[in-house]
């Protein structure tokens, strides 16, 4: 759901900016939209947007918890008698 949220916000944001650019530059909607998309000189924005989606996916699928389970470190205060291993 988070990825969907981010996608919707992305599209809405770009639409808003395109609308404003139409007003400012008085050009038709499509030429403005093409200039607005992260083409040169703002190519770096593509990486940022991809980064945003990666983080969104990371949070969406709770990767950190999965990673913790996979290589969860043997925390020092385990061990000893077989008490109920309630993690503090």
């Amino acid at each position: 759901m988070i990825i969907l949220g981010i996608l919707v916000m992305m599209v809405l944001g770009i639409l808003l900016m395109a609308m404003l650019d139409v007003l400012v530059f008085q050009q038709p909607f499509f030429t403005v939209l093409v200039q607005l998309l992260p083409v040169y000189p703002d190519t770096s924005t593509i990486y940022m947007i991809i980064g945003a989606f990666v983080i969104a996916a990371w949070v969406n699928f709770k990767m950190t918890d999965r990673l913790k389970k996979k290589y969860g470190s043997k925390s020092k205060n385990q061990g000893g008698e077989k008490r109920d291993t309630k993690q503090s």
Partner: protein, 364 residues
């Protein structure tokens, strides 16, 4: 985490720093010679905004802006409006980041790639957003001391380096009162004061309608005083005519400080203080945006913090190609297409709708 009230003094500082931070960089747009009057004149229509917002709150037992939209416009349109408001907040946050980056690139750094600066700043904002409103309010009180201290030292040092000449403000109202009032109504009411609508989103935590009215009034009053004082300092040092030509007026005023060639070159410190201010302002906007998106996609607001912040960073690079477009867009078009409808018309309509819809039935 129980939703407890942020105490009143913290809310006041939060709103004050929120209003002050970006408007300090540019000051009121110097379309009119006596720009310091514009700030004062803009105060009175701004109170009208407070009245609208507080009546909206009073009607709905202090629930936030988003539930009110849904209640007034029904489920689907309400959600649409929530999304529109979230994009509006995201857009303004992107513009603020762009302002700050422009300032940094023209005072501190030169060749460093802008995306790197924006990403670092944006990650910091996301980290602050995770902290929740209480932490941001306390952070605001910390920054308020910094900003006030900076303004005070600026004024005193300018006086000592004898570059404050009171005569320079003098052809007072040379073009008469009307341009001042017109510019107050067309620019200043929306730019610093209108953005207070963001605080409607966190109302349950910020002390309901009565609290909102009282605190925001004090915040508006002190912002108006501080802003007009800063404008006055700029006019006294740079002169009425010269102020039009400087992109960052406060910065140029700070460059004139020169006491015996030792205490000089203070302009970089002004730039640093403005980073703190912008950080806070963008955090509040992003908090409101994450709240809205979380409400629509019913997920935890905290999950949206980092992705949305990076999206805001990407937008801040895309939003304008050069500073001329940035300024014209900001002054003319954004006000008619975004500020006026979303800060005035939509709240008014929601108010009317709630009053009609719930006049007959019991106020649910």
């Amino acid at each position: 985490m129980t939703l407890s009230k942020v105490n009143t003094v913290d809310t006041f500082t939060l709103q004050l720093v929120f209003l002050l931070s970006t408007s300090i960089i540019f000051g009121t747009p110097s379309v009119v010679p006596d720009s310091w009057l514009v700030g004062i004149v803009a105060f009175f229509p701004a109170c009208l905004l407070i009245v609208i917002y507080s009546t909206m709150l009073a009607l709905q037992e202090d629930r936030g802006l988003y539930p009110m939209l849904e209640k007034a416009w029904g489920k689907v349109i309400g959600k649409g409006f929530v999304l529109i408001y979230s994009t509006y907040f995201l857009y303004i946050a992107a513009r603020n980041i762009r302002d700050m980056i422009e300032l940094i690139m023209s005072t501190l750094l030169r060749m460093t790639p802008v995306p790197l600066l924006t990403t670092m700043f944006v990650l910091l904002i996301a980290y602050t957003v995770l902290g929740g409103l209480h932490a941001i309010a306390r952070f605001a009180s910390l920054i308020l001391w910094l900003i006030l201290f900076m303004l005070l030292t600026l004024a005193i040092l300018l006086m000592f380096s004898s570059s404050i000449i009171l005569e320079q403000m003098l052809p007072f109202l040379s073009k008469g009162m009307w341009p001042v009032v017109k510019s107050a109504f067309s620019f200043s009411i929306w730019f610093p004061y209108g953005e207070i609508i963001v605080f409607l989103v966190f109302q349950p935590q910020l002390g309901g309608a009565k609290g909102f009215r009282k605190i925001t009034l004090y915040a508006f009053l002190s912002t108006c005083i501080i802003l007009s004082l800063t404008d006055l300092i700029q006019i006294w040092t740079l002169g009425l005519e010269d102020k039009k030509y400087s992109v960052f007026a406060l910065l140029d005023a700070a460059r004139l400080i020169n006491i015996a060639n030792i205490i000089t070159r203070m302009d970089a410190i002004i730039a640093l203080i403005i980073i703190f201010g912008t950080l806070l302002k963008c955090t509040v906007f992003l908090l409101a945006c994450t709240e809205g998106v979380a409400r629509v996609f019913n997920r935890e607001a905290k999950d949206f913090a980092f992705p949305l912040a990076v999206v805001a960073g990407a937008f801040s690079i895309l939003v304008t190609r050069n500073s001329a477009e940035h300024v014209t867009e900001g002054l003319k078009y954004v006000i008619y297409t975004l500020h006026i409808p979303l800060q005035l018309l939509v709240p008014l309509l929601t108010l009317l709708l709630i009053r009609i819809r719930y006049r007959k039935g019991a106020t649910t």
